[in-house]
């Protein structure tokens, strides 16, 4: 009885405490916006931001921008995943490939993808193609590194026993190496997706694409539409959270946990 009451109190605190803090933050913002002596054009109050959000939603601008951004993210990430996993697996499997590529990969890895943006504009012009390529490039290095480490971390005894039992190279690859390396590969993909998402918004600002969330923010700056900018930032945050939490946790549950590679 006592314990249950405590647990209920615990749960109540879990709801109330963050609610109080978020409401406090909202009130603080509202107070600054209304009485802070800042131009309301630059620091809009919450109803204005909500109004901008609804307006964007109604006119379909937000949906179109989100769709365009997600399509770019999907294309860039698919590119990075295909390229990164294959290079990483090859590096993990063949010492020759590893020795040859590792210096290049470790040199290119710390260069922020966004630094290539002006170069890509020169090479491929403005618009969708350079944005997708740039997102692909900047996401692929994390994926390469993790896939490589994953293949390297496969227990040699598994390889040897599969070999002993007469498995050929292909069976070893599909039945032993891939499942064993999968936790690392998935970690790499998750980190890659996160970095693709972080870079994409900025890339859209620099590439002047037709539509997109980053472009919506950047374009609104010209017209001092701070309310639109804040509403868009909120949408970007929400999508980022969904990508991170929902998508990959679900994939991990369906594969790794089910195969017993990882406990939930």
């Amino acid at each position: 009885m006592m314990r249950r009451a405590l647990r209920m109190r615990d749960r109540a605190v879990g709801v109330v405490a963050p609610a109080v803090l978020i409401v406090a933050c909202a009130l603080a913002w509202e107070a600054v916006a209304r009485y802070g002596n800042f131009p309301p054009k630059l620091v809009p109050d919450l109803p204005t931001i909500a109004g901008a959000f609804l307006r964007l939603l109604e006119s379909g601008t937000l949906a179109a921008a989100t769709g365009a951004t997600l399509a770019r993210l999907g294309a860039g990430f698919a590119l990075a995943a295909a390229f990164g996993v294959s290079v990483g697996v090859l590096m993990g499997r063949y010492p020759f490939v590893e020795d040859t590529l590792l210096p290049i990969v470790s040199f290119l890895y710390p260069i922020p993808g966004i630094a290539y943006a002006p170069l890509f504009v020169m090479w491929f012009g403005l618009g969708d193609l350079p944005s997708i390529l740039l997102v692909g490039v900047s996401a692929s290095f994390t994926i390469i590194i993790n896939a490589w480490k994953g293949v390297r971390a496969v227990r040699p005894i598994w390889l040897r026993s599969a070999h002993m039992m007469g498995a050929n190279e292909r069976t070893i690859f599909t039945k032993v190496i891939l499942p064993a390396a999968l936790p690392y590969v998935l970690t790499g993909l998750r980190l890659g997706l996160a970095s693709a998402w972080r870079i994409l918004v900025a890339v859209e600002m620099l590439m002047s694409v037709q539509q997109g969330l980053g472009w919506l923010i950047f374009g609104s700056q010209q017209f001092l539409n701070t309310d639109v900018m804040l509403a868009t930032i909120a949408v970007i945050g929400a999508i980022g959270m969904l990508l991170e939490k929902q998508l990959f946790e679900r994939i991990e549950r369906y594969t790794l946990v089910r195969w017993g590679m990882m406990t939930a």
Binding site: P110, R152, I199, I236
Partner: protein
Amino acid sequence: MTASVLCERDGAAVRTTPNRRRRAVRGTLGIVAFLAIYEAFARSGMFSTAITPPLETIAAAFVSSLAGGYIFLQAGATLLRVAIGMTFALIIAVPLGMLMGRHRLAERALAPLVSILMPIPSLAWVPLIVLWFGIGNTATILVVVYAAAFPLLFNVWTGVRTVNQVWVRAAVVMGASRACVFRQVILPAALPYVITGVRLAFGRAWIAVIGGELLASPETGLGKVIFDANEYLNADVMLSALVVIGMIGLFFERMVFNRLERVTVERWGMTAKSGR
């Protein structure tokens, strides 16, 4: 992060260590091949040499940027911004993370706020920050602070939260005061996570500072060098600046953070368990 924790295995000894010379030869081979492919591409005439300059032009641009220490000034400006931003991020994030790790109420209250703000890319804020604070240094540094604060906060929080409770209880039983438990038990135990946090934060800050310099146009900095070179179609200057950016990143990763981890974490017998 979870996956990499759970699959630490005896992977290191998969192969007999290949001899270092062979490795170096192959590595050089790879780099030479990479450069040769680029050179062939540059000279193929597919693009004009103005936008894909051959290697000697890039090298010449690099050498001329060394003249008068120009490139050092730019790199210095960028690094100074990272340093200032990281300092502010440390001042904000470390105490908050510790508070969240130690006190349930603080954790409950702040966690939702953190999980709302954390997934917003720092560069998404740039146009807004520029409106509020004007273009230039302040805006760029603020972006760096935002980018660096969250990985720090998250890792400090996790580190403090996952301190082995047995150690804490043992220390309390042996009569340690709260301050003593904090200093002697919790801080050292959380340190591997803190260092991982600093390392991740530097990586994010490094991206944010270049992006900030491209978008918020301060007067100096490596990002600004690239941006200006774009105006005049100086692809050679851009590529040489990219090489400098890569070298600095590699230097910090290898020389600073790896060494830091070795002298602190490994010496004290604790290995960091959260990867990039």
